[in-house]
Symmetry: C2
Subunit: 160 residues, 2 copies
Amino acid sequence: MTELSGTIQHYNLWVLLHHVSDIIFNARQTELMRYGIPGMQGEVLFAIKAIGNPATPAQISRLMFRRPHSVSGILIRMEKAGLVKRSKDLEKKNLVRVTLTEKGERAYRQVLKGRAVQRIVSSLSESERRRLRSLLETLRNKGLKELGLDPERVPYPKFV
Amino acid sequence: MTELSGTIQHYNLWVLLHHVSDIIFNARQTELMRYGIPGMQGEVLFAIKAIGNPATPAQISRLMFRRPHSVSGILIRMEKAGLVKRSKDLEKKNLVRVTLTEKGERAYRQVLKGRAVQRIVSSLSESERRRLRSLLETLRNKGLKELGLDPERVPYPKFV
């Protein structure tokens, strides 16, 4: 195997990973649209619940591995839609806290009912899912190190 | 296992998949930035080479599983940067063809030299990579069906 063909094989595997992640995201988005919730906003609802109410934009951004300014944009749109409330911390004025509104809580419960991800992931048996998790964890650890981050210190993406 | 905890476990696995895909994308982006190429533009260079010169925006969008208007935006920026040339098809005036410029070809060769993806993916052994590919293919097929698409007819994401 030449060096170049090695690179391309590795690259292809990552592209497949990216592609599958996009496919599931799209299936999820299609489903959320039926509830009138853009896909990314649905993920933010999950993230806030996972972090605990209230969450800071920085925590959400770290958990979702999205840039802070892109998370800020989503939060502004979600506030306009009445799903979250952003308020300044009483002690640290430059810290924003995000809480779900009543409408946000209702939206979260609807999002939870979505079954698209479950239907897709169920195409793997329980042992296949365990194997996939373990392979992904290896890539996660190596990838974070490549980014100069300590895998132990980056929040593990887990909702509940 | 209650129905809800089943949903959350499946959801968590997808979130991990998404997270790993983002981590590798970020590592790649950091590397491409050193060559002055935004990450997405690097992927488009690969896509055009994979499709063959010239490619249409629709082909790029299908291969990358990105919405046509987001691909259009990237192509406009790439044309401004002198990496691609967009031209109208002589026969079908409403069809745009995208070709790499000399500068685009040079950028592609630089992108190919990037080793971040290779270093990360090499954390798996050859048999682990085969296993991962097979698990991802199962998810891909089920996910595309969930989107109402025929997996046989959606281009398999493979560069070279």
